[in-house]
Amino acid sequence: MLPSCRQVAVQLSEDRDEKITGFKRFALKLHLSMCRHCRRYGKQLELSTKTINLLAHKSRPDPQLKAALIDHFTQLSVQRKSEDEKPQ
């Protein structure tokens, strides 16, 4: 029993997170070999996912936030070191 196009759309997404195996994979591949709309959907799903990843990596931190956190990190590191160096 072959999956419908709607089921294939779901399975193509699931396959990105956990590989579909066994007969379900065979049926998916068979459907894809016969359905150009689903093949295109699969390619576009991959491209969309990569686009989201690229989009996310375009965001940059506010310089003030970065500076404040570096300052906090340095202060805490110095404090930690001086505590470590204290004689027991």
Partner: protein, 260 residues
């Protein structure tokens, strides 16, 4: 007991087979049960080794993670800057999805302050990235609760039954069009599409947004996402499919009409 000793021996032999480190010591240094090693390369050569993960007992951390934690504990500012900058996009996305853009940076700041303080207690039971994202997610949920907005990461109420793209037999009646562009860079060369995607991702239900940001934007594993959000893998898969499908439809609409 015997199995644990054999595992220790395997780990040690794998360490000695690496020629990037001259001196290897096994001791606890704020990282319980982790091998501590002396790095002979300058700190600027980041990361020192991107080899296979070392499995010592329950732990499964890649060399780079052990190195990063060690350098952070030693107060290496350059490594802190690097980790902060690398993880900022993911942390920002997660904070935005849960608590909104207005307070996302405040949440990140609070999360980092907590993380820096708690770093000596980091046990390596998850990756450093996953540990930090969990702190951000928890901080965002707390802030959201304080503002009396309900957190509904488990909510799956949205109906997906009536989709005009499919006929009554669930086959395509209105499939996606051929796109002009084969790479993400080509697609995002249109600033309008970039703005349109951001706007539509912001409109996604919160649970879908968080799942999408963690998995596709941040590259976290399914296991890590399930642990952070405390949601079952099957629910995450449904959320991811709906979010990805929506993003695909937004791009497709833009490709067809040139409008958002």
């Amino acid at each position: 007991m015997l199995a644990a000793r054999v595992n220790d021996l395997i780990c040690l032999s794998r360490f000695f087979s690496r020629n990037t480190f001259e001196k290897i010591e096994k001791k606890e240094c704020g990282l319980p049960h982790l091998f501590y090693y002396q790095v002979n390369e300058p700190s600027s050569s980041y990361p020192p080794n991107n080899g296979t993960p070392i499995n010592c007992g329950e732990l499964h951390l890649p060399n780079t993670e052990v190195y990063l934690v060690k350098e952070l504990l030693a107060g290496n500012q350059k490594i802190f800057e690097k980790v902060f900058s690398d993880l900022y996009p993911l942390m920002h996305s997660v904070a935005c999805s849960i608590a909104g853009n207005a307070i996302a940076d405040e949440i990140i700041q609070e999360a980092w302050v907590s993380a820096i303080k708690a770093l000596p207690k980091f046990e390596g039971r998850s990756s450093l990235k996953s540990w930090l994202v969990r702190i951000v997610a928890n901080e965002a949920k707390t802030r959201r609760r304080k503002e009396s907005r309900s957190v509904s990461l488990e909510s799956m109420q949205e109906s997906w039954a009536t989709d005009p793209r499919f006929d009554e037999r669930s086959h395509w009646v209105n499939p996606s069009s051929q796109w002009h562009g084969d790479t993400p860079e080509e697609l995002l060369s249109a600033q309008e599409l970039e703005d349109c995607l951001k706007k539509n991702i912001d409109k996604l239900p919160e649970n879908q947004q968080v799942a999408l940001q963690m998995r596709d934007a941040g590259g976290l594993s399914m296991e890590e996402i399930c642990n952070i959000l405390d949601v079952s893998p099957s629910n995450i898969r449904v959320l991811l499919h709906r979010a990805r499908d929506k993003v695909l439809q937004v791009i497709d609409h833009f490709q067809q009409t040139g409008e958002c």
